[in-house]
Amino acid sequence: MDKLDALESQSVYILREAYREFKSLVMLWSIGKDSTVLLWLARKAFFGHVPFPLVHIDTSYKIPEMIRYRDELALKFKLNMIVGQNTMALKEKRTFPDGTLDRINCCKALKTDALKNTLAGSWPRLRLNHQSAKYEVDTNTEPYTGVIVGARADEEGSRSKERYFSPRDRNSDWDVGDQPPELWNQFKTDFAPGTHIRIHPLLDWTELNIWEYIQRENIPITHLYFDQGNGKRYRSLGCYPCTMPVESHAQNVDDIVKELREGKFKNIAERSGRAQDKEDGGGLETLRKEGYM
């Protein structure tokens, strides 16, 4: 069994544990390569099906191509697609691009708050109608108790300390100092009412593993990751005001794998293009403790 087989097997095992144990389970899909691999792994785990909803938090500042790609794949894979948004902050122009918030607080408003309230069911959830290909307000407002997330340990320091099954309290807070033990593939699947569990099937994957797997499985991926014709490509996808493309001529998955293995990005961290990580020393840790993914 090679490395990718072993990673796949472990992720599939985690997904099946989650599906058995959580009645109200969702998967977060950011449209990026990691959560798209996660989506693919769900199809592996459930033999071509995805038996739970996918949630996307639309900050309205996503690169438009991402939204197009999301809906295309959602229709093709027959996904139960749910979209959440902080419509209030957008209406009141409380965002970084509007110049009223700094980056960290913008992430908090458009991503963390939107996510918390979408998961809790306290803000409207929009659900894709496969007949009309339009989004409609979902009647289900039950809180989701299991949330599958595509975080990887190699991305950033606080993520390297995560569990596969990681509890969050009522306020989505993460108690990093007191995490549950996790041994022999026995995970924390018991939780008190009002709390929820984040599930991280991709914890052991590196950025290179992700691309090698996309290559092996031929997973459809948005072409924003490839050279946009100007010698630049996105290495990591987010909101366009805060995510910078990198200089690269990689035109396809093979080129990217090569670039990561022996090329210029061999030793450069993936999130180096994300501005919010650099604010406040432990920017992402602060965000993540409060519920950011």
Binding site: H49, D154, G177, W184, L208
Partner: protein
């Protein structure tokens, strides 16, 4: 191809402040495994905050960790040698964070145990050594760190080595190497150190590369704990797939298999795997699915085995060593939730044989196991479970205990125990011993009431009409002037399961309550009717036992899937009309001499 490179998980353990994170940080830096600019960035940050630079800061990423200068939780980092890829798990050494250390170490195939040359062997140097043995990690090297603080003195190194070897011998553990290092200065990390010419052995990197991967698990008997059974009919997929991960061994289509503990046999029809070439078999470590020749009813938690091979033990009692991490101590006679492979069942601590302090190796006798202690314990489950001993097949020989939502203990099974004196029997014996009997005997009551007492269980799947029939039955007997009472326990069971802290334990508690209640009411001469869903022969056995010596009658509505026919007194078709059902049940009651034959409806 790079993805074919071997990967190994290595955990770094040892007492707090002995330099584990420094060792990892240095290893990452010296093998060029850090992202570009990371080292400089951390150095610059230290300078800004007027703090001396530490390699540990490369790993101790949490703010609290940097502020306190300790590792709180395990971090994973990645590095490559020329031989293979490593995932390094840096575990905390502080006793407070022992459960984090265990979480990290349980994933490891190899361990580096770090001891401070200046401070010498400390409590957690020993405790962590013991835990490596407990977790079954075979590849172990001891790094005697901070040799710079003892002037690279060979005598200091050799004294620590001698003392620690003596300790390890007591727990039957033999490390592959002892390496004198100064992680901060880089001595013996990736190459020989000129400051310790007296040391002829390999560097940390050499020793890591010298570790052997464990033999593949394919050669062991086949075990696949069933994770789930899928049938995605609404998506137009009619396959009924039993899914799980093959823990050990291998299997091929056509092989005769058996599910344990249920003992149901079948034959593998197809191997199911999404987006890959068709397969005719599956091997250890693969997450896979199977379809079968005949459709049978099984539940997640069963262990799929090959009939021709050595089968796991099926028993409701076993002896195990448990490492306890709970905030509350583990207590004799208390019920916990046991999770072993994919089985989840209530388990009772039947006996605590002895308790061990893992650092001092001192054993004691007491009725509880405190946090961070190891207990040798006899466990008893209500229903038999399938398991192996940890020495036979580790993945099905290890378990965790859940207490109050939390995984509170890890255990390894030493041996099955076979005896008949279950805790339920003991409970009943105790109950009956303390029961003061009145002058009115059961025959006197029966004479007065015109019927004997009985517990009537009307079982069946949800929506088969069992509850409707139970109520009709109550009404019919009531109208005949019988002392009858209906108790809709199914709802209570579900409620107990969802309300209670734990659905497995909640259901169990509710069943025991029902049994006790039934015993009380039948002792008072009543006919108690209850409808119940999703019951199996063990639940039923328990109810009957608790209701003894009074009569229990079982009526099953619908197609029987989970109960053996010999457990059922009357089988009714699904959605049987109430009048017809009542007639048949009255006949049964007459036959069972609960009612006199002259009573007609």
């Amino acid at each position: 191809m790079a993805s074919q490179r071997q990967q190994m998980n290595v955990v770094i353990v040892g007492h707090v402040d002995h330099g584990k994170s420094t060792l990892v940080g240095r290893l990452l830096a010296d093998t060029g495994s850090l992202p570009e600019g990371k080292l400089e960035a951390v150095k610059a940050q230290c300078k800004r905050n007027a703090k001396p630079f530490e390699y540990a800061f490369l790993l101790d990423a949490l703010k609290d960790e940097q502020a306190q200068g300790i590792t709180i939780d395990t971090a994973r980092s990645f590095f490559k040698s020329s031989k293979r890829d490593y995932i390094i798990i840096d575990a905390p050494g502080h006793i407070e964070f022992l459960k984090n250390m265990i979480s990290g170490a349980a994933r490891a195939e190899a361990a580096l145990l770090v001891i401070d040359a200046h401070e010498g062997i400390k409590e957690n140097s020993k405790r962590h050594g013991y835990m490596m043995r407990f977790l079954g990690i075979k590849n172990i090297a001891v790094c005697v760190n901070k040799m710079d603080l003892v002037n690279y003195d060979r005598a200091v190194f050799e004294r620590i080595q001698a003392d620690y070897v003596k300790f390890l011998k007591e727990i039957d553990l033999a490390p592959q190497a002892f390496i004198p290092i100064a992680a901060f200065c880089g001595d013996n990390m990736t190459g020989p150190s000129s400051r310790m010419p007296w040391y002829q052995g390999g560097s940390v990197l050499d020793v890591l590369d010298g570790f052997q991967k464990a033999a593949p698990l394919d050669q062991l008997p086949f075990r696949m704990p069933v994770q789930d059974i899928y049938k995605f009919t609404e998506s137009g997929d009619d396959r009924r797939i039993v899914a799980g991960r093959v823990e050990t061994g291998s299997v091929r289509t056509g092989d005769e298999v058996i599910f344990l503990p249920s003992g149901k046999k079948n034959r593998i029809k197809t191997v199911e795997y999404f987006n890959g070439p068709p397969r005719s078999g599956a091997r250890a470590q693969e997450s896979i699915g199977f379809t079968y020749d005949t459709e049978i009813y099984i539940r997640p938690g069963e262990v799929l085995c090959r009939y021709s091979q050595k089968l796991p033990h099926v028993s409701n009692k076993f002896r195990a060593n448990v490492f306890w991490m709970g905030k509350q101590p583990l207590i004799k006679t208390k019920t916990y939730k046991l999770k072993i492979a994919t089985q989840q069942v209530p388990v009772i601590v039947a006996d605590i044989i002895h308790v061990l302090n893992a650092a001092e190796l001192a054993s004691s006798h007491k009725p509880h196991v405190d946090r961070h202690e190891v207990g040798e314990i006899i466990f008893e489950t209500l229903k038999p479970i399938a398991f192996d001993t940890v020495n036979e097949i580790a993945p099905t020989g290890r378990f965790v205990l859940v207490d109050n939502y939390e995984i509170a203990g890890g255990g390894i099974i030493l041996a099955p125990v076979f005896d008949s004196d279950s805790s339920l029997n003991q409970h009943i014996k105790k109950r009956d011993y303390g029961w003061e009997r009145s002058q009115i005997t059961p025959p006197l009551r029966a004479q007065k009431y015109g019927h004997k007492s009985a517990l009537i269980i009307i079982a069946g799947k949800i929506d088969t009409g069992n509850q409707r029939i139970a109520k009709a039955m109550e009404e019919a007997l009531f109208n005949l002037g019988k002392n009858v009472y209906f108790l809709g326990i199914s709802n209570r069971l579900n409620l107990a399961a969802s309300d209670s802290k734990d659905k497995t334990l909640g259901r169990y508690d509710a069943l025991v309550q029902l049994g006790e209640l039934a015993h009380l009411m039948t002792d008072a001469g009543l006919i108690l009717i209850t409808s119940i869903t999703d019951i199996d022969q063990y639940d039923l056995g328990m109810l009957k036992k608790l209701n003894n010596p009074n009569r229990t009658l079982v009526i099953y509505v619908g197609q029987e899937e989970r109960l053996a026919l010999e457990n059922i007194d009357l089988l009714l078709p699904e959605n049987e009309r109430s009048e017809a059902a009542v007639k048949k049940i009255v006949d049964l009651l007459v036959k069972a001499v609960v009612l006199d034959p002259e009573y007609e409806i």
